[in-house]
Symmetry: none
């Protein structure tokens, strides 16, 4: 996957990514937008030189995150992307009235082959 972007802008890009928390650079949070928005966000990361991208989603958006991963893997980056790991977990959110509510979450790490 040769990337045609000019090398002179590479330094600025790297610096921009360093500003984020370590290990959290390539995280895309999947919500209720159409899946293609997140597919595009992932493609920007991956074509910008990132070796992997992490999709995170909670609750109903979990199916959307799986859709995004499958679209990337089977259509947009066919034969160039693999699922590195998938983790599920439970997060506690504060619901209305201050009560705590459990919500399931998923984390899908996609890596360039």
């Amino acid at each position: 996957m040769a990337n045609k972007s000019s090398t002179e802008s590479e330094g600025t890009k790297a610096e921009a990514q360093k500003a984020k928390a370590p290990g959290e650079e390539n995280v895309i949070y999947v919500g209720s937008k159409p899946p293609m928005s997140y597919v595009m966000a992932c493609l920007v990361q991956l074509n910008g030189g990132a070796p992997s991208v992490t999709l995170k989603a909670r609750g109903r958006a979990i199916s959307g995150a799986v859709d995004v991963a499958e679209m990337l893997r089977n259509r947009f980056m066919k034969d160039a992307l693999k699922v590195k790991s998938i983790n599920i977990s439970t997060e506690q959110l504060e619901a209305e009235g201050g009560r705590m509510k459990n919500v399931s979450a998923i984390e899908i790490v996609l890596e360039k082959k």
Copy 2:
């Protein structure tokens, strides 16, 4: 109206429609019922001696499958069940009018510790 896709190396369609194979006994298909129905079905399998249980779901039901797995792991069989593997895939379904439609699927294998 038979829509014949190329026969070569297209296992996806066959997989989507294959009947239950041997060794597939402990599969719980998660659909649109309340999560507790599937939690109960899993508990019946696990307490009946099954060493593991596989949750399968497609499309919107994927988040439900994650909910069921998390409820089992954190509440009903706390410290006695672990996630063995999680796989995501794409299945082809025949939509109305005979057109093929891609739908994401998840398979979560839970195993007794």
